[in-house]
Symmetry: D2
Subunit: 349 residues, 4 copies
């Protein structure tokens, strides 16, 4: 069932790195690829940036990049052509990418104890900051009907990370109290997903203005972590009960605060390490309150499909701080550096 | 259905603390209690000591002890009399205690985020170093038929901790590789329980002699952690696959080693903190290998009943380093200080 | 910590059976009980009826009733006095009953393979159709602040059954499709709980009028099972995907329809047996779609506490078809016979 | 990384159906295939037969077979050549097939509520009764080092089914009581896997001779179901506690017996339907004992890899009733008809 639709253009724009550092980032034109066996050719209409894209551009994050290398992992677009033997999608289908290609369900089937598993688009695989990508059809998921492509492009990494932590690992349900740290992309998805399940949300931030915006999105409580000990604030806000789930996005010694704030038998999802790569905390609350700590590495395709259904069902709209044109990547990276409220999106069309 | 059997004696020996420190530990005689409503009176025949009993004796471990206070939590004995309304046991039944009285199944139902849950025998409740104890019948479990009382007394804390970590939290099954750290009571139960489920066991220790003894008990591999990096040894022994479960008994910075040694999607049970109360480790293996870390606080009664059935079924014999007479408590505490190979038991009869 | 508040009255009204059948149901007055050790005395303000109460009244349902026997299991009220040693509640606290007293969390700890576990209020224990009840404090849960006592009284059986099936056993999350059969108490709680978690709800019924009322409550789709094959309707409404969860309330051969309607790897909760006690269905969809079938027997106290929090958080208001005065029990039983839309409540104050 | 090793022969023997019925089964010779992109060419050395292979030969079992069609799903052999882009295996690696190709982990990702998922080798895909097969590399798993190829060929269907039911769905652990019905391939694997995890095993059979053989394999109890009610026997043998897990292999009304025999809160895995495709049973024990019933459709690749490790670790040797030569397929099918004790294997080399 091979279907080939000849695209009108023959060249695709593509951001590519010829080396590390912003200075080596250029906008090039290369031939539009043809879908190989089992692949689909997708016209990319929006790309969502993650902080890690900035790191890959600056230092490669340890990936063995083949220059010229195109960064970024999260996209939405439309299937233009279908390779030999591919049958999951048809031309015209709107799709989004998967962050960890090939992780379909269950446990990660790559890597081992020594060699950490981390095969992602825009890392071990080429990225998506390009008018066209051609990847195996298994690497895509149908886009939600209720979102435009810019919004849909935020799901593969930030959206799925929050969903996987709260729903897949944390068994989110109504009546739980969820703490999200900060107001970045994962945090705000966490807020929205928790609210959509009838949970109470406490947001911590160092900015009163951002707490106001989080409140407008439905956060029940905002805690200015520069003004008070946020773990004690969680005690206060929950009548000492503590939080049923915490999205630990700061890392470092902040894990210790999460261990203080967590309820008995509850769940901490370790996701981010803004405060430091060496996490630490006191053993007593871990031993005596018996929480579970999950390390989160985005998530699998089945959960992304669940998230897409949930998005369509609940009407959640991803929070996009600002959308940039394709040529404005440098400005978008500057914005990423400053710490956006939610997501940054690059529109290609 | 009140049944009262008059014990022949009227006085019970009892070790009691009149203050903190070994000097304030005395052997007293007090009247044998009568079982209150819902209670059973149990003739204690053996008590198993845990390292925490030493700490309670020395400094109270933060418990609000009412002096004179009898320490120790783990015992085996025989029901002598049954209080009004109690029906779980009959006189003559052999029973063991539960470490966390009232924790029947599921989540801990005590404590909160601020006030850590830790209601144990020999801590928030009186202990068991006494000829007789009278407790609510719900605090006991039928003893395994295949063990003598000294052996059976080791199950409530050390046995259940290892079982709860591996089976209840870790879903132990044949073919897994389990790392146990050291050769104390929990570690050796971990070794035996893992072996009884068809798992492979790696023991780490600082003593070659203890590794030899662990090998005789069925350990597949012994790693002298003073001679090599134990996490790298796990890589070597598993062909880089890593361990499916790790009983983290050292705590402190050793958690970082466990994060290195653990397999993708696997399980670390944090149990002990011999190396330090501030646990720490690198975030990368936690984020990328996505293990689950469980804080373990012994376990609930249903799991102890499961363990008793498993003991009777598999023929596991707890490893007792040495058994002491009731009057020899000080020598037993010295032994505890030195670090026994397995458990220390006090025989009362 | 004994607190005794002398109630102003000394007699309590009480519905009691002196034998089987409605003719043996009388309204009596008996002395207000005093709370025994570990008990609380509760002033009952509302009782919610279940179909089983009608069966107990008519034939005892196999329970060994001690006449005079007071039926019914679900109540809300206010603690008036606290017995010796009881500390969970204080006078003035609003509470609701638990359907299976003593089932705190985890697995049922009563009964065995031969002797089915079924120890309930208004069955193996005395019931609650009385101005006052005195029960062990562990048998109560704090009432939700957002409900009046009549509404709160519907949670212990109908509310918890739906919650336990969908949330505790079925891991409900946003984007799932849930089928509820009929418009009785459990079904409508299922509808509301599913909606509060962002799920899609299909209601089946034999009454177009009831489907309209379910639609007004938020049901996404109504299927008149007298007009079409409801399993095929589920295929149609889900694009053949099937239902993620089905509350099987009819039993009998209807289980076969549920097996047809269920999605791959999804969940069927068997709760009711209106259509027959012998359940049956084809093996092929069970073997090939690999669903899980859970037998549901209401649920444990921890889940009821979770439900109470969820109710307060989400603002769910239980659907009460009609409220009756205490003396109107016979009319309420007639209504139960006809099949109410939601719940029937008896107000005592 | 294409590696091509030219096999010495150029023709492969192959059993093929040119229509339904034994009469249309012929031994043919066809060219040895070349591995396509992502495929591996495997020299088949042993094939294990399942009862369904007999049904496929006789009536196709509803599969849309393209004649000439080669039946059978389970094989062991050696990789001879590796297609373009394939990297999981190298020539010389010993492998076994997966029964449901492409089911890697988690939920089945094929089929839906209406169209039952059932894509298997020797069904929707060509089978393995051939000297050579060339399939996508993802369809194979490394063979256990401790088994010869004939033994290893029994794992993909019968071995994995028992493992998936008991370990993956049922959380098997030491001390559980497991009932296996009959002495076919799945049943005996269930017996061996349960024993390797320290569980107690009750085997039911209509043949005293087979019960003796099961006893020699380690069954703790044998119940002659023609001589007594097997559910009552389970009550007797467990002191009324019931079975923690039941491999329901008979189906039909036997499910009712399993519901009687199962312990409170325990697990029934429905696997076989020898007694009838319409399963049925009383609702009361399902509702009141709250067991979970899982439909089992063999299992995923990750679980097969777990099983392989467990086999190597525990030394389990699959029970093969008889091994036949490649040309003896008709005799092997006759044996299958009679009901073997364990598995039937065809040796190709």
């Amino acid at each position: 069932m091979t279907v080939t639709i000849k695209p009108a253009q023959t060249l695709a724009r593509r951001w590519q790195m010829t080396g590390f550092g912003r200075d080596n980032l250029t906008l090039a034109e290369t031939p539009i690829p043809s879908p190989g066996p089992g692949e689909v050719l997708v016209r990319v209409s929006a790309v969502s940036l993650n902080y890690r894209d900035k790191l890959v551009i600056e230092n490669g994050m340890g990936f063995d990049l083949a220059f010229p290398f195109t960064p970024a992992s999260d996209m939405a677009g439309t299937v233009e052509a279908v390779g030999d033997g591919a049958g999951r999608f048809r031309p015209g289908d709107r799709v989004i990418s998967t962050f960890s290609p090939g992780w379909i369900d269950g446990k990660l089937a790559i890597g081992n104890a020594r060699t950490l598993p981390y095969r992602t688009l825009g890392g071990s695989h080429p990225g998506v900051l390009s008018d066209y990508v051609s990847f195996p059809e298994d690497w895509f998921v149908a886009a939600p009907a209720s979102l435009d492509d810019g919004e849909a492009s935020t799901l593969p990494c930030a959206g799925l990370t929050a969903w996987f932590a709260l729903v897949e690992c944390g068994r989110l349900h109504a009546g739980q109290t969820v703490v999200v740290q900060g107001t970045g992309g994962v945090a705000l998805f966490g807020l929205q997903i928790a609210r959509a399940h009838g949970a109470e949300v406490i947001v911590t931030s160092g900015s009163a203005a951002k707490l106001d915006r989080a409140s407008a999105l439905g956060a029940d409580h905002g805690v200015d972590r520069t003004a008070e000990d946020w773990a004690e604030a969680v005690w206060r806000l929950t009548g000492d009960r503590g939080a049923d789930q915490i999205l630990e996005l700061a890392g470092g010694a902040n894990l210790g605060k999460s261990l203080q704030a967590v309820a008995v038998g509850a769940h901490i999802a370790v996701i981010g390490v803004l405060d430091g790569f060496e996490i630490s905390g006191p053993a007593s609350p871990l031993l005596l309150k018996t929480p579970t700590i999950s390390g989160i590495s985005v998530g699998h395709r089945r959960a992304l499909e669940d998230l897409v259904r949930a998005i369509d069902r609940t009407g959640i709209k991803p929070v996009i701080d600002r959308r940039y044109g394709f040529a404005e990547l440098p400005a978008a990276l500057d914005h990423l550096e400053r710490g956006p409220f939610g997501k940054i999106v690059i529109d290609l069309v």
